[in-house]
Symmetry: C2
Subunit: 407 residues, 2 copies
């Protein structure tokens, strides 16, 4: 199905809100063999939106619109749909009843403006919104299905799952393609592509894309025929084996989790400059409580001493950002938490706090496994606090995954 | 300047990568009085891209393209620009030298494919990329400036800052508009808009947008004249005062930080189900080390007892997810960290681990200030692990901000 996603809202075009809805929708369409041809974000402007919707109805088989369905003056989607489909608004009693239940709490009065949520274009199928106030709208022409959904992510997602996807499924005629994501780390995009190019022919209907992110490269393979995909994957796996760590939804932290479970090892972390981001990554995996005992974010020197038994003498002699402190943190978290594996970091995230000897971006990472302890030094430079924190966590995760894979 | 951002890449249209580049660019243009009219994401398809670039050159004064400049076969931007501008590729010696320095490390050979990075369309101005291999490209027509930048966020951002924005600045004729973001919490979008609508006339050239996010609503005001903005803001502030917590870049965690600094109070946190996300939010603010002593992520019962002095009897009698444990965690973190303010949480994030008595989404949040301790119970429901964690952190931040504002 030729598909376009149209996201409405000044807050999106102005960069104040990230268009996470479009990403989520595209991913939700994938299992149905649908890949959007384009994602278009537009301002809250009736005229432009009308032009784009009219054009989309001609060019696409599936049009998904989010946003602009709310009750305030900058919500333009409903009036535009009324114009495009030459219809009028009618008050829908069922919707009104649903909207009212949203405000059915003691001490809460429904602002009158919300009654307008129940005014819907005549001729549209109403997709009841049990998760908010604005219902979804469904229009069908000879060649196109058009859905208009609220921009609130939680409401949009539930409407997609419960109303839109079942309706699309009926129409998408099993055009699903075979795909796989092969995930690598420790090799650059161009070096990887050189290795793969040397293989030569991989199949007529094989599409390949490289998705590099922070020193890790995913390779996405897509093919119409499952057999082509399998053959290509086998050939590619041979040349990428040293860098391969997982496939599809295997994130590094998931793979770390499954190794820890398999080897019956317990993990704990001691962070400083990353403020807990390592623990967040690890605990983003459901079931992390099976192998993650605890994490400490020891920002102050006192906390480093009290929580991790870092020696005062070490802090005085070498400073909090030092190889020695990273080492004692890693050892300390293993001991105090009773963990088999401990990781630590200490560094100058920035933007301030740097000195000539210890500039912004200087980071030490410690790794401790059953008594063996090692430290690595990184100089990430002055690219900003968030980036230095992100790089530090990435380095911790990469190192941990590498060490665990070797056990 | 009429502006379009075009993001190239199957990984974006397919939803595998979030289009963070477009958001960043839009925000970077704002201080120059430029708001993009549309953001368009397209697949790696030469034909479509050529059509869109030709059309954009006619309709827009500024065209910003990201992605598709790399050395692999799915990078289509350069060949398309060559066609659109009816030119050819020539090898640029300076660029080649720069590309080579990227691989100038012991033991690293430059993959030959990277030499192609130095092939640039004749007639384009080369924007040297000191942060990666693919240079930016700049084309100028009578009515339009077109920039093509690499899709790697870090490279794109540096090229924007150092090359693109200075060139745009020359052309953007001080059309900057006055804007302000008023940030509120504890009130819904429609209730807020009812209050503001009652004010009546706010100025001819005043634009207003509501940006709701997880129980917090930002109001963006834009006006051509600063005086209009000031007048409108004053009127609006009167009706939103009980909900207002900050403006523009004042995030809740920044405001929390400035109150803590002002009142000379020290904060520490004890998390369970959020895995450290609260600590991450707090430490995302530069200078957080001034008031944030430490955070602990006590996932296991042992850690809760050892780190926070939660009593074994409490854990046995009430379970780890209970009001009593949240209370002892908040008290415990204050005591063990020597903090004035302690916050805690314990809950069932899901998707598994729920029981009839303690379902997924049940969360307890504790707050302790100089001995006074309180606990709140939340039932977030089964909307997924990430959402439950996010809601918990948001609730902690909101409560903390409210309490601190009242001190």
């Amino acid at each position: 199905m030729k598909t376009i996603i149209i996201s409405i809202g000044n807050e999106i075009t102005s960069g104040h809100v990230i268009n996470s809805n479009a990403v989520w929708m595209a991913k939700a369409l994938e299992p149905h063999g649908i890949t959007p041809d384009r994602i278009l974000a537009l301002r809250d402007d009736e005229k432009t939106l009308a032009v784009e919707i009219r054009s989309a109805l001609k060019k696409y088989e599936l049009v998904l619109i989010t946003g602009g369905l709310g009750p305030t003056h900058d919500d333009v989607t409903k009036p535009v749909l009324v114009k495009v489909f030459k219809t009028k608004l009618v008050r829908d009693k069922k919707t009104l009843a649903m909207v009212k239940t949203c405000f059915d709490k003691p001490g809460v009065d429904m602002p009158a403006i919300n009654e307008g949520q129940a005014d819907v274009p005549k001729g549209a199928k109403i997709l009841p919104n049990k998760w908010g106030t604005a219902p979804g709208l469904f229009f069908k022409t000879d060649s196109c299905l058009l859905f208009a959904l609220p921009g609130v992510p939680y409401e949009m997602r539930n409407l997609m799952k419960n109303e839109v996807l079942p309706l699309i499924k009926k129409r998408a005629k099993g055009s699903a393609v075979a795909r796989v994501l092969l995930r690598t780390m420790g090799v650059g995009e161009s070096a990887l592509s050189e290795k793969i190019n040397k293989i030569g022919y991989l199949g007529d209907d094989l599409e390949m894309a490289y998705l590099p992110m922070m020193g890790m490269v995913d390779i996405r393979l897509t093919a119409k025929k499952r057999a082509t995909l399998k053959r290509a994957e086998k050939k590619i796996m041979k040349v990428i084996a040293p860098y391969y760590y997982g496939r599809d939804d295997d994130t590094p932290e998931k793979v770390i989790g499954s190794i820890l479970v398999e080897k019956k090892l317990k993990l704990a972390s001691a962070e400083s400059c990353t403020g807990g981001q390592f623990a967040v990554k690890i605990t983003s995996v459901p079931g992390a409580s099976k192998y993650f005992l605890e994490g400490v974010v020891t920002y102050s020197n006192d906390a480093k001493m009290a929580r991790l038994r870092v020696r005062e003498a070490t802090l005085i002699k070498h400073g909090a950002v030092s190889s020695q402190v990273a080492k004692e943190m890693a050892q300390g978290i293993c001991k105090t938490a009773g963990a088999d594996v401990g990781v630590s970091c200490t560094g100058v995230a920035g933007p301030t706090g740097g000195t000539k000897e210890k500039p912004v971006g200087l980071v030490y990472i410690g790794f401790c496994f059953k008594g063996r302890v090692e430290v690595k030094e990184y100089k990430f430079g002055e690219d900003g606090r968030a980036r230095n924190q992100e790089r530090t966590v990435r380095a911790m995760i990469k190192w941990l995954l590498k060490e665990l894979s070797a056990i």
